[in-house]
C-alpha cells in the first residue's frame, strides 16, 4: 500500500503536468465544439502563447541556476521600443524596407542582450541578489520605454514586411483548418519550439547545462570543483536577455506596433508560473524545459477557456493562481 502510493506520487511528480495538460486539452477541445484532437486548436494555442513561452524557456535556465529574473517583461518592451524606433528611423531615412526591418530586428535583439548583460553584471560583479537586481530592471527598463514614446504607442512604419514576419507562417502539407484552408504554423511558433528544443538540449546534453545545474544545486561545491561561477551566472542572464529580445521581435512584429505601457506587462509572472507548473524547482539545481512548454500551454488554455466561458477577466487571476498553487502541491516531493 505504502509502496504503491509512493510509486503513484513519483509518477505524479514526473508526468502530472502532462496528465493535467491532456485533461485540460480534452475539455477545451470539447467546449469549443471541435473534434477531440483538432490540430487547429493546438496551432492557435501555440501561436498565441509563443512570446511568453520564449520567456519561460529562458526563465527555466535562470531558475535552474538558482536565480530569478523579474525584468523579462520590461526587457521585452524596451527591446521592442528601441528596435521599432530604429526601424522607423531607417524607413524615414529612405533605406529599403528590407534593410530597415533587418536593422530594426538586429537592434531589438541587441537591446535584449544588452539588458540581460546589465542584469548579469549587477548580479555577478555587483554581488546584488538576482531578485533585487532584476526588480530594479523591472522598473527601469519599463520606465525607459515609456520615456522614449511618452508612454504612448510606437507604430511601425513598415508597410508589409514587418507584419508579414509576425503574422506569417509555413503551411503544413496535408492539414487543413475548419474553413478548408491549409493549416499554417506561424513563424513565432517555429521560433518558440526551436528555442525550447535548443534549451532542453543545452540543459540535458551540453556542458553549459550541466554547469547550470551544478551551480544551482550547490554553488560552493561547484566552485570547489573548479567551475567559474561568475561566468556561468553572467551567461545565463545574457541568454535570458537574448530570448527577451527574440520575444520582443515576435510581439512587435505581430502587433506591428509597440504599446510601451502594455507590452510585456506581467509577463515575468506568467513565465515564472509556467516554469513552476512545469515541475522545475524554484530552489535551483533541477529543471526541465519540456515541462515549462507544457506549463505555458496549460496557462494559455486556462485563459482561453475562461474567456470563452464568459468568466469575468477580474476572476481569471484568481483561478490561474489556484492552478499554480495546485500544481506545486501535486508535484512537491513526498515527505520522507
Amino acid at each position: 500500500m505504502n509502496r504503491l502510493s509512493s510509486r503513484l506520487q513519483e509518477a505524479l511528480e514526473r508526468w502530472g503536468v502532462l496528465i493535467a495538460f491532456a485533461i485540460l486539452f480534452a475539455i477545451s477541445s470539447f467546449k469549443q465544439g471541435f473534434d477531440f484532437v483538432n490540430p487547429e486548436n493546438f496551432r492557435a494555442l501555440l501561436n498565441s502563447n509563443a512570446p511568453v513561452g520564449i520567456l519561460a524557456v529562458g526563465m527555466t535556465l535562470v531558475i535552474v541556476s538558482g536565480g530569478i529574473d523579474l525584468s523579462v517583461g520590461s526587457m521585452v518592451v524596451l527591446a521592442a521600443a528601441l528596435g521599432t524606433t530604429a526601424m522607423n528611423a531607417q524607413i524615414a531615412g529612405e533605406s529599403s524596407e528590407l534593410n530597415a526591418v533587418l536593422i530594426g530586428g538586429a537592434v531589438t535583439i541587441a537591446a535584449g542582450i544588452a539588458a540581460g548583460c546589465i542584469n548579469g553584471a549587477l548580479i555577478v560583479f555587483g554581488r546584488i541578489a538576482p531578485f533585487i537586481a532584476t526588480l530594479g530592471g523591472l522598473a527601469a527598463f519599463r520606465s525607459m520605454s515609456l520615456a522614449i514614446a511618452d508612454a504612448g504607442e510606437i507604430r511601425s512604419q513598415s508597410a508589409t514586411l514587418f507584419s508579414a514576419l509576425g503574422r506569417g507562417g509555413i503551411p503544413i502539407p496535408g492539414l487543413e483548418n475548419a474553413a478548408g484552408k491549409p493549416l499554417t504554423i506561424s513563424f513565432s511558433t517555429v521560433i518558440f519550439l526551436v528555442v525550447a528544443v535548443v534549451a532542453q538540449w543545452f540543459l540535458s546534453r551540453a556542458r553549459f547545462g550541466r554547469h547550470l545545474i551544478a551551480v544551482g544545486a550547490n554553488e560552493t561545491a561547484a566552485r570547489y570543483s573548479g567551475l567559474s561561477i561568475s561566468w556561468i551566472r553572467f551567461r545565463v542572464y545574457a541568454i535570458m536577455g537574448l530570448l527577451a529580445g527574440i520575444a520582443a521581435l515576435v510581439q512587435s512584429s505581430r502587433m506591428n506596433s509597440v504599446s510601451t505601457s502594455q507590452l510585456g506587462l506581467g509577463s515575468e509572472l506568467d513565465a515564472i508560473a509556467a516554469v513552476v507548473i512545469g515541475g522545475t524547482s524554484l530552489q535551483g539545481g533541477f529543471g526541465r524545459v519540456w515541462g515549462t512548454v507544457v506549463g505555458v500551454l496549460i496557462l494559455g488554455m486556462i485563459t482561453n477557456m475562461l474567456t470563452i466561458s464568459g468568466v469575468s477577466p477580474y476572476w481569471q487571476g484568481a483561478i490561474k493562481g489556484a492552478v499554480i498553487v495546485l500544481a506545486v502541491l501535486v508535484q512537491r516531493p513526498s515527505r520522507s
Binding site: 546534453r205 544545486a217 550547490n218 561545491a221 566552485r223 570547489y224
Partner: protein, 523 residues
C-alpha cells in the same frame, strides 16, 4: 548497576523497508542515570532505531515501553511530549534569535494576559539550564555568534527546557574540536548524574569506551552484543573481559579487523612534487614551508581552527594566498580551483554536504563535474553520456562504491560511499598532488579501512598526498610524516621514526594544543 529504573525500552522492535529489514526484533533498556552508547556500522540500523524512539517512524512490529507502559509515537511531537528529545547533528537553532529566545522557543513564558513574553522568566530559565550544563555563554547573545560547541550546549538546554528525560545525541562530537568534545562529555556526565537517560551515538569508539556506562552493538539490524561498566569502572563483556575500542570494532563488523591501516611501504624519495615556501592563507595562516614528494603521504595535524583547511584551500586557489608555491620546481599561483586542477592539484573538501559534493545530483554528474571537458565535444554542445557512465562505473568498481544506480542522487548513499565518490571526482582529474581534508569524517569502520587502502595505493602509484585530519591515530597510521599546525603556523612535526614511537599521539596532541612548544625541522 541493574537497579536503575528503566525510563524507556524497545520491545522486539522490527522495521522493514522495501526489500530490507532495517531492525530485527531489537530489545533494549534505557535507564535513568546511565549513558547508553549505540554503535554499529553505517546501515546497521542505528538511525532507524533513533527514528523509532524519537517518533519519526513507527515500527513494523514491536513497541516502545515508556515507564512501564507500552507506547508508540505517531509523530515526533508525541515523543517530545513524553520527554524524549533528540540533539541533532545539524543544530535546530534560529541563528537570528538570542540564546534565551532559542531555549524558550515554542513555549515562551508569558505575562498575565498570555500575550507578552515574560523576558525576566525567560532569562531566568535560560540561566538556570545553562548553569546546570556548566556553560558560560551569555543568554542575550545571538546564536549566530556562538561557536559550534556553545550552540550545541544551547540545543541541549532547549531539550531540558522541554523536560526531556531521555536525550539522544547523534554523532555529537563530529562537528567539535578536541577541547569542545571534552566539554561536551562533562555535560553528558552532568545530565546522567541528574538522573536522565543519555543515548549516545558515535563512530569514535575511543569516546564510547571513555564515556559510556553501557554499549549496545547493532549489526545488520540486530542487537549482537552488549557491554556494561562494572563497579571498578571498566567496560566488560558478558564473560567479564575488559573491552577496548578494538573489541567494539570487532563486534561491529563481526570479525577481527586486521590492521585498519595498510602497510606504509617506503616513501619514494624523489623530486618534491609540491613545495610551499613561506606560504599561507592570507589573514589566517603564514610562514608555512613544506615539501611533499611523489609517493609520499604527509599528514597535517592540529586542532579545529588551526588554519589547516584554510591553508589547503589557499593552495588550490579557493582563498587569497601569501607566499610561494613550487609545483615540480616551477612557481605557480592559482586564482581558482579550476586553474589549480589543470595544473594537477586536487582538494577533497572536509565538508561533503556543503562544499564537496552535489548531493541532489547523480553519481555520474558528481564524478565527472570537474573533468567534464574531457567528455565534451563540438565546443561544449555535446557531452558524451556513454563515456561518462563508463567512467563512473569504472570508479564504482575500482573504489568499491556501493550504490544502486549511478544515475540516482547520491544523497541517500552512506558517508563512506559519498566520500569515495568525492575521491573519484578528483582522481578523475589525474592529479599529481592530492589534498584530502578529513578523509574519514562520518565514515564507518569498514569503509575507513578501504579508504586508507585507496590512499596508500595512490601514494604507491606516485601521487603526492597531503592528508588533513583531526583523527590522530588515522594520521599516525597512514602518513609517512606529520606536521602540526597551531594558530596558523607549523609548530612541530613527527618524522617517520617518531611516528612509530608509542607516545607519539600524546606528543602531537601536546604540541597541537600548545602544551609543549617544539620547533624542529620537519619540512
Amino acid at each position: 548497576m541493574e537497579n536503575r529504573a528503566v525510563i524507556l525500552g524497545t520491545r522486539a522492535v522490527t522495521v522493514d523497508y522495501p526489500g530490507v529489514r532495517a531492525l530485527d526484533a531489537v530489545t533494549l533498556d534505557f535507564r535513568a542515570g546511565e549513558i547508553h552508547a549505540i554503535v554499529g556500522e553505517n546501515g546497521a540500523g542505528k538511525s532507524t532505531l533513533m527514528k523509532v524512539i524519537s517518533g519519526a517512524m513507527r515500527p513494523t512490529e514491536g513497541e516502545l515501553e515508556l515507564a512501564g507502559h507500552s507506547a508508540n509515537f505517531a509523530q515526533p511531537s508525541e515523543a517530545i511530549a513524553a520527554g524524549i528529545a533528540m540533539v541533532h547533528q545539524e543544530l535546530n537553532l534560529v541563528p537570528t534569535l538570542t540564546v534565551e529566545e532559542n531555549i524558550a522557543l515554542g513555549r515562551e513564558p508569558t505575562g498575565v494576559l498570555g500575550i507578552a513574553v515574560d523576558h525576566r522568566a525567560q532569562r531566568a530559565q535560560a540561566r538556570e539550564l545553562l548553569a546546570l550544563l556548566g556553560s558560560a555563554c551569555e543568554t542575550g547573545e545571538l546564536v549566530s555568534s556562538l561557536s559550534i560547541g556553545q550552540a550545541q550546549c544551547v540545543e541541549i538546554a532547549k531539550c531540558l527546557a522541554r523536560d526531556a528525560r531521555v536525550l539522544i545525541f547523534d554523532e555529537p562530537t563530529a562537528v567539535l574540536g578536541e577541547q569542545e568534545a571534552a566539554r561536551l562529555f562533562v555535560q553528558l556526565r552532568r545530565l546522567r548524574d541528574e538522573g536522565r537517560a543519555v543515548i549516545f551515538i558515535s563512530h569514535h569508539l575511543d569516546e564510547v569506551v571513555t564515556i559510556a556506562d553501557r554499549v549496545s552493538v547493532l549489526r545488520d539490524g540486530q542487537l549482537v552484543e552488549s557491554f556494561a561498566r562494572d563497579q571498578s569502572g571498566s567496560l566488560r563483556d558478558a564473560r567479564g573481559r575488559s573491552v577496548d575500542a578494538g573489541r567494539l570494532a570487532a563486534a561491529m563488523v563481526g570479525r577481527e579487523l586486521g590492521s585498519l591501516f595498510p602497510n606504509k611501504g617506503a616513501a619514494i624519495g624523489g623530486q618534491p612534487a609540491i613545495e610551499l615556501i613561506d606560504f599561507g592563507a592570507r589573514g589566517i595562516s603564514q610562514g608555512i614551508s613544506l615539501s611533499v614528494s611523489s609517493g609520499e603521504i604527509v599528514g597535517i595535524a592540529g586542532l579545529v581552527g588551526s588554519g589547516r583547511s584554510e591553508t589547503a584551500q589557499a593552495i588550490v586557489g579557493l582563498r587569497p594566498q601569501a607566499g610561494r608555491i613550487l609545483l615540480a620546481g616551477s612557481a605557480v599561483r592559482f586564482e581558482s580551483a579550476g586553474a589549480a586542477m589543470r595544473a594537477g592539484l586536487a582538494y577533497v573538501s572536509e565538508d561533503r554536504k556543503g562544499s564537496g559534493l552535489h548531493l541532489s545530483l547523480s553519481s555520474i554528474a558528481n564524478v565527472t563535474l570537474p573533468s567534464l571537458d574531457a567528455y565534451t565535444s563540438r565546443g561544449g554542445l555535446h557531452v558524451d553520456s556513454n563515456a561518462e557512465r563508463a567512467t563512473t562505473n569504472r570508479w564504482i568498481d575500482t573504489l568499491g562504491i556501493r550504490c544502486a544506480r549511478p544515475d540516482s542522487p547520491i544523497a541517500l548513499l552512506s558517508g563512506g560511499n559519498q566520500q569515495k565518490i568525492a575521491l573519484a571526482r578528483w582522481l578523475e582529474t589525474n592529479p599529481k598532488v592530492l589534498i584530502i581534508d578529513e578523509p574519514t569524517r562520518g565514515v564507518d569502520v569498514g569503509a575507513k579501512a578501504e579508504i586508507y587502502q585507496i590512499i596508500a595505493q595512490l601514494a604507491r602509484d606516485g601521487l603526492a598526498c597531503i592528508v588533513i585530519s583531526s583523527d590522530l591515530p588515522e594520521l599516525i597510521g597512514l602518513a609517512h610524516r606529520v606536521v602540526v599546525m597551531r594558530g596558523g603556523r607549523v609548530v612541530g612535526g613527527a618524522s617517520r621514526e617518531q611516528l612509530a614511537l608509542r607516545n607519539c599521539e600524546e606528543r602531537i596532541m601536546r604540541i597541537a594544543s600548545g602544551l609543549s612548544a617544539e620547533l624542529e625541522a620537519c619540512a
